[in-house]
Amino acid sequence: MLRLAPWIIVLSLVLPVVGGTLFTVPPAFGYLPVLGGDDWSFRPWLELAATPGILRSVAVSFSSGLLATGLALIIVFLFLSTIANTRFDRWIQRLVSPLLSIPHAAAAFGFAFLVAPSGLLLRWLSPSLTGFERPPDWLLLNDPFGMSLISGLVVKEIPFLLLVSLAGLPQLNAGQRVMLARSLGYLPRVAWFKTVAPALYPLIRLPVYAVLAFATSTVDVAMILGPNLPSTLSVQVVHWFNDPDLSRRFLASAGALLQLLVTASTLSVWWGLEKLIGTGFNAWVAGGNRQRFDGTLWLAGRGLMLIATLLPVLGLFALALNSVAGFWRFPDAWPGSITLSHWLQALPDLARPFWMTMVIATAASVLAVAMVLAALEHEQRRNRPATRALWLLYLPLLVPQVGFLSGITVLSQMAGQAPALWVVVWAHLLFVLPYVYLTLVEPYRRFDFRWIILGRSLGLSVNQAFWRIRLPMMLRPVLTAMALGVAISVSLYLPTQMLGGGRIVTVTTEAVALSSGGDRRLIGVWAMVQAITPFIGFLLALLIPRLLWKERRGMQAL
């Protein structure tokens, strides 16, 4: 059974992604007998080409993905080059994980509540600095060029890229490299960029690609911050899928395929840029310039990271403020009164989606942790490296969600399967598994194998050694992985929305659905609930070991 674990993981990831993508193809070419599409044709594609503004949608998806990823990566690298273990650095590093666990939709709402014409920032600056007595007629949000979408994505992806970079840095001996270069006369920031950056990038390449794929195809963030009329390609595709007119499914499938192509071409353009920049970079490194740009790099790294960290924190604050605001006239910095009535009104509606969110998140992350533990335990017992196929873990993160989810929807409808909870849980599992694996793999391999040897010499079988030694001693990382799984699941919008067919409703689908209504108070309540939910998991992961091992100091350090 354990022997099968790695393959069960690979299959449960690969089958839906590849199968889902394949099943997008026939309807994209007019073939879907259930909906009366009996002949193959190019009609969906012609229809797609005739959609007003389709080129603009594609262009925004393409460029926002590239720009958001590029900017986030640049800011992260600039900041890393200035890291010197100051209080500011430690503060940023401590904030990384909490910021990462804020769901995309909640972060996007928070960002919107900050930078909107009537948002918190302009209120704080008005009228004293701006002179505005009423919200300016500026298109700050949902601008046609996707600027607000890009900014929101940059802010949201920085913590992720920073976290994977911080995880990769220790194996590079960054400190030594910089020290060596400085002893050769390089200024510290220049030294970092010339000696550490080129070695760090290959380590975080896959996560960068995942960010890129996400940024080109995100639906929830684009619905909240992206342009309208036309919206981004992925948002259009979802609208077509949800159209009561079922014949739109053909158009939607063609759109989903187009989205796959857009993401694939963004990835290849990025790959090309990598080569190009790499060459230029090497020339710069080889050029031997030691002194220029150092101050600029320092200022940019610190300043941009400060802004990128403050924005989501302030965003959450804006959400919270809106959720309890009574009457709040425009230039006023603070609401005239504070009220709990929005919360009290929303509570009855919140209960069911909240429990559904928890059920799906718990099921997906418990399953993911069990599967990952089985695979890792198998690897340990066989005493040889994991199967190479595990790189496929990244597959669900590299293929746009609309691309394969639409195929799965089509498939389950063809099979006459009504929207079912297990399908949604499985879809969540696809996105939870990779992160759970990545968090558990290091602690698992680092675990001192002598503990197991000792246990077995005291008469424990391999299985007993797992349950009585390995699992209790690894409880903390296991619970952390589970909490991360919950956070990922809570943030997922599209899998629930598409596969739940409107019958399975979570806090996230409800919150995103509210975005079109524009009731700030209500959005504030729902987005706050969505943002807080992941923290429940992390809190439990922190508290359970602490209570359980209250008298065991050795377990506090592990």
């Binding site: 005493n383 040889r384 002598r450 503990w451 040897i453 000792l454 246990g455 077995r456 010499s457 005291l458 008469g459 424990l460 079988s461 391999v462 009585r468 030694i469 209790p472 001693m473 409880l475 091992w549 008298e551 065991r552 100091r553 050795g554 377990m555 592990l558």
Partner: protein
Amino acid sequence: MERTSGHAGPLAEAGCLQLQDVALELHGHHLLHLNETISPGGVLTVMGPSGSGKSTLLAWIAGFMSPSFHATGRAILDGEDITGRPAEKTGVGLLFQDPLLFPHLSVAGNVRFGARGGKDDVAERVENALASVGLAGFGHRDPETLSGGQRARVALVRLILSRPRAILLDEPFSKLDTPLRRELRAVVFEHLRQQNVPAVLVTHDQEDADAAGGIIVTID
């Protein structure tokens, strides 16, 4: 390899640990070759520099050898061939450099963890065993609150209560400071003699070898 003292026992002696024609290789590179019989209460001391394969010898006897090594020969314990048995079925107990007390269990929990032979009086046996190494009343303590010497004693008691039929010691005193090392050496060898089972000691400390007082094999 040279052999400095001791005697080879007769074949298949009751309670003996026999290492018959044991040879270890790493990637085709010959590490050691042994042919010894250790009688109950006796200690075989294996000395040699690190990387000589002496710890691997213990891993092989106990059933944990890393697959990158290759071993031939047989290990016979009390007349039974234990070569290649699953580790929990060899009846061989281990003492490491570090005491390795399970951090999630109390002192008593650690000792009870491996205790064999009936559940009824286990609490009493645990308490008595702790008392026998001067740790009476320490049962409820967190292992983390013990001193290095106390931890080493708990590890010893845990090993003894698991009633091993042979005991392997992998440089068990090397991480202790000199006075503590002397004291603990006395306690450990006294307990080993009481148990009356064969033991293999791996060390690079001549004083360990002298205290053990059995056959000494030196690998170069």
